[in-house]
């Protein structure tokens, strides 16, 4: 069982959350001319690192907020969690 520290609600079990994937993927800016390659990068290409991974989780059975979680993909250790709009250094 993973325990995720929701920045809004505190420590909760993974059963309350839904996964949302890589949080570093950025949608290209609206109304900007972009190449197929840029679109491909956004929609399909993923680093999927072994080690630290910044990812989105949805506290769907809790406060219903999207949050960012920094987690290790080989040990499942969770280092830090952030509100969705929080700046990440």
């Amino acid at each position: 069982m993973l325990y995720i520290n929701c920045p809004h609600c505190g420590l909760r079990s993974q059963n309350e959350f839904a996964y949302g994937g890589d949080a570093t993927v950025k949608r290209p800016e609206l109304n900007k001319e972009i190449s197929d390659q840029e679109w491909d990068n956004f929609v399909y290409l993923r680093k999927s690192p072994r080690g630290k991974h910044l990812e989105l989780w949805h506290h769907v059975s809790g406060c219903r907020q999207w949050i960012k979680v920094e987690r290790d993909t080989s040990t499942h250790e969770i280092f830090k969690t952030y509100k969705a709009n929080e700046a990440i250094e």
Binding site: D40, V43, S48
Partner: protein
Amino acid sequence: MQKYSVFSLIKNAFSDHQNWEVAWKDPTPKKEYDVIIIGGGGHGLATAYYLAKEHNITNVAIIEKGWIGGGNVGRNTTIIRSNYMHDENGLFSEFGMDLWRKMSQDLNYNVMFSPRGIINLAHSDAQMNAYSRRGNSMRLNGIDAVLLNREEVQKLIPMADFSDNVRFPIFGGLMQPSAGTARHDAVAWGYARQADSMGVDIIQNCEVTGFDVSNGKILGVRTSKGDIKAKKVGLCVAGSTNILAEMLNMTLPIETHLLQACVSEPIKPLLDHVVTFGAGHFYCSQSDKGEMVMGGDLDGYNSYSQRGNLPTLQHVLTEGIAMFPFLSKLKMLRTWGGIMDMSMDGSPIIDKTHINGLYLNCGWCYGGFKATPASGWTFAHTIAQDRVHDLNAGYSLNRFSTGNLIDEKGLGTKTWIS
């Protein structure tokens, strides 16, 4: 190579089975090979075997970080099928079915291929319509498919829940009678033994630490046992694909996710087929030892851990009990996990890359085991001829940017859901 037969078995019985030849050697790597295959799993071993057998390329090394057959070929639920709707998947897998049928003779190794049939259960009229469409697509591609109604399913698997007032009543199912199972370890060992006998070097406990690329051409690989030169290099590393891709500065349409499987304690023969639950993600068959072999959903977040987490297992088995209520009475014997190379459309990639002499075989999601022979055969062709075969032409790396996706389930890029 010593041929396995009833006569060699009797002969060796007289010497207490002490004098069997080793099945494959443990060579030190040479300075240079024509082809290096990274990954000593089912696909890598099969690729080396078909390179030697079909293309007469025997100066080949397989480099494996752990031991051969210790990854997903030793961790799957052994299901073999070709019940796909799309032409690319159907024709590729059906070609593989033919290789499966001949495999034990071809490899002189009993892989215990058991074409017991797979039944996909349907739990609504809409699902029956979808299965009828899928079955018709399969038959157009020469794959056997039978649409079963509720009574026909009940005759085949009376232990499923046919009672009234269930949440997901069984409306019928789609069956592929020629699908089945095989002994997964034997597949790896059979390919390894034959490849070795034709001159392939199987190098275990050898980790790839980097690549030697110059002017867009592959020159060799760096390993924990030293640098090895190669004219061509093929990647067959499933869940570890992204780790090697990073060394090559490549970003791929793949995420690595964790999938669990489990077996119950062994019981008397009960279930003749492979059965999948249609209202969720659960599948079940009975092994020759009597264990119920079960699997289902991914754990649902990026992971390289090869160890599962209990909430997913509980979820999957809840579905299992909805389908086969008797499962609740069984004790769990063993659970384990493997890491899947989940592609963004659920279909694999067997292709050349932008680096000359570097070939990619990945994205098997959780359908890798059944694809072992066809994957090895087509990947060997792609490497030997430096061009893709018609069978794997659809499995191109650039299909994501060109929009030619093969999305069997129409689930899109949320790989952890598919």
